[in-house]
């Protein structure tokens, strides 16, 4: 790995990163502030009277909105957080290889004494750093501001959210990086990766009406993300860890392999 390239990679994205981190901190703080006001009680009854398909649309999953986990999953972590962080991660991933090839800046880097494998591994390390920052910007404010509003997550739950949230987004980013290592256009790479995720999301939604639509089954990255359960129960199933871990590992290793062998101009 090259620290010079890692620093430059993150510097290139400093403005976007600052906006995402700032927005996530504000969003997380807003959610812990809102929870005592609207979580539970009559509002929970109103929400739970909605059709299950609509609740599924907001990522409510199997947890009750009346619970703290249900509130955070439906209002924030189940859909909006996923959209915000996945978009940030896919933009990073699409630019990591394909975007730089299309812009021509890859030529500048690869005309220097830098091996392709080292460059690709550094871009993967950049993704890990990027995702960790976004996960921290999400979960640290909940942990820090929470006690002020009577929201007390155990340290174990906090670390579980951090770790699984990071792994989930690494799996998403891995798909994006793999697409980016294959295609020449960053837009095409991010569209294809986003398309895969949208298909998973739609499949999860439609599965409420038809079992036939649930063709992803247990390998659906979207439906496997159940932060409400983690908040309520303090645990996550082993299958989810394996799923995110394998998808992240395989896609990220594959992107290094593909990039090392492709034309970059």
């Amino acid at each position: 790995m090259s620290w010079t390239i890692l620093r430059a990679t993150l510097q290139q994205r400093r403005t976007a990163l600052a906006w995402y981190v700032g927005s996530l901190v504000a969003y997380s703080w807003m959610m812990v502030w809102f929870y005592p006001k609207i979580g539970g009680g009559e509002y929970a009854k109103l929400i739970e009277s909605m059709p299950p398909e609509m609740l599924q649309l907001f990522g409510s999953g199997d947890v009750s909105f009346a619970s703290m986990g249900g509130f955070f999953q439906t209002e924030y972590l189940g859909l909006m957080w996923m959209l915000i962080v996945a978009s940030a991660v896919l933009i990073y991933a699409s630019h990591a290889f394909a975007g730089e090839i299309a812009d021509g800046t890859m030529e500048l880097v690869l005309s220097q004494p830098v091996s392709r494998v080292k460059l690709a591994i550094t871009r993967v390390a950049g993704l890990v750093a990027y995702v960790l920052l976004l996960a921290a910007a999400t979960f640290v404010p909940i942990q820090v501001f929470g006690p002020t509003y009577d929201i007390n997550l155990s340290a174990e739950t906090f670390w579980l959210l951090m770790a699984l949230g990071t792994l989930f987004m690494l799996a998403v980013g891995g798909i994006g990086m793999l697409a980016s290592s294959v295609f020449r256009s960053g837009g095409k790479a991010s569209s294809i990766a986003a398309g895969v995720l949208v298909v998973m999301w739609v499949s999860d939604l439609v599965a409420n009406f038809s079992d036939v639509a649930d063709f992803f089954g247990n390998v659906n990255l979207i439906s496997s993300w159940q932060p409400g359960k983690i908040i309520n129960d303090g645990t996550a199933s082993a299958e989810v860890w394996w799923l995110y871990g394998i998808v992240a590992l395989v896609s990220l290793v594959a992107c290094v392999f593909v990039f090392a062998r492709r034309d970059v101009a």
Binding site: E107, L108, L110, V264
Partner: protein, 308 residues
């Protein structure tokens, strides 16, 4: 040999980049690589830099096979592209520092190049004109005093004064032992600094020879005034003659190709000549002749001395 291509072929799907390209550049030489847009110059350079994987054949630098992951070879190369792509939000100084760190230290020529090219490194790339971006590319490519300079249209966008400075810098690097592989379609710059040229046409090397030899042997401009009226047909059947025009009742202007001077002189001697000039055509005229031939259907490939 510093640069070698052996039957180098690169196809982009079904589109030809270069085909069966064989050339070599010895140490210390300034080699000009000529051809119009789309002829395959940049493809060849990208294969040499390990950015493109050849479809067939191979390229070698400093005797080592070029691979896609050949970082060590690139340590000895300075590359300047005519289409500068840099990080728009960053300054020239940022780029200089970035490349310096990737190469393990500040380039020995950095300050000198900044001064001679009068480049202000504090400005963001997006604020730079085409010429200033080109100066940045030149600084990044030359600042580490590499053994091999691969220059792809290096003076693109520069004004004549800066072009002159760049030529002087290249000549100094060559005097210090550097080898130069210069791709260009600006023939005056090739004529000025190159010892030897390869002309690439439709992905194939059409010719390769010394610039002096090319200029000396290939094409001459003839102006002859006779003491009596003549007809253009007088020279039409002499081998190697082309573009024969009567510019006056007694005067003929024509081009003489190849080694047919002797035939021409013998024909001229059959009439009383009052004035005669035979000048070497410029490299540009030689080059245009290649492509005119191509348009006329000439297809043979030649090396040393032969003209297509």
């Amino acid at each position: 040999m510093v640069v070698e291509c052996e039957k180098l072929t690169k196809y982009y799907g079904k589109t030809r980049g270069v085909e069966d390209l064989t050339l070599s550049v010895p140490e210390g030489m300034v080699f000009g690589f000529l051809g119009p847009n789309g002829a395959g110059k940049t493809t060849t350079i990208r294969c040499l830099l390990g950015m493109l994987k050849p479809t067939a054949g191979e390229s070698r630098l400093f005797g080592e096979h070029v691979t896609l992951d050949g970082a060590n070879l690139r340590r000895r190369i300075g590359y300047v592209s005519g289409e500068v792509k840099a990080y728009d939000k960053e300054t020239g100084r940022w780029h200089i520092d970035y490349v310096s760190q990737l190469r393990g230290g500040k380039g020995v020529l950095t300050d000198e190049l900044l001064q001679r090219l009068e480049f202000d490194p504090s400005r963001c790339v997006k604020e730079l004109s085409k010429g200033n971006k080109q100066k940045l590319a030149l600084i990044l490519g030359l600042m580490h005093d590499p053994e091999l300079l691969i220059l792809d249209e290096p003076t693109s966008g520069l004004d004549p004064l800066n072009q002159e400075t760049v030529f002087a810098i290249i000549e100094e690097r060559v005097a210090n032992g550097a080898t130069v592989f210069l791709s260009s379609h600006i023939l005056s710059e090739v004529e000025r600094i190159c010892e030897r040229v390869g002309i690439i046409r439709r992905g194939h090397l059409a010719a390769e020879e010394n610039v002096k030899g090319l200029l000396g042997k290939r094409l001459r401009e003839l102006n002859v005034t006779f003491s009596e009226p003549v007809d253009a047909a007088f020279l039409a059947d002499v081998d190697g003659m082309s573009r024969i025009t009567l510019t006056g009742p007694n005067t003929i202007n024509a081009r003489v190709k190849g080694d047919h001077l002797d035939d021409l002189i013998k024909r001229l001697a059959t009439r009383p000549v009052r004035d005669l000039s035979i000048e070497h055509a410029s490299l540009e005229e030689v080059f245009m002749e290649f492509y005119r031939d191509e348009e006329n259907g000439a297809s043979e490939t030649s090396t040393e001395g032969g003209v297509a």
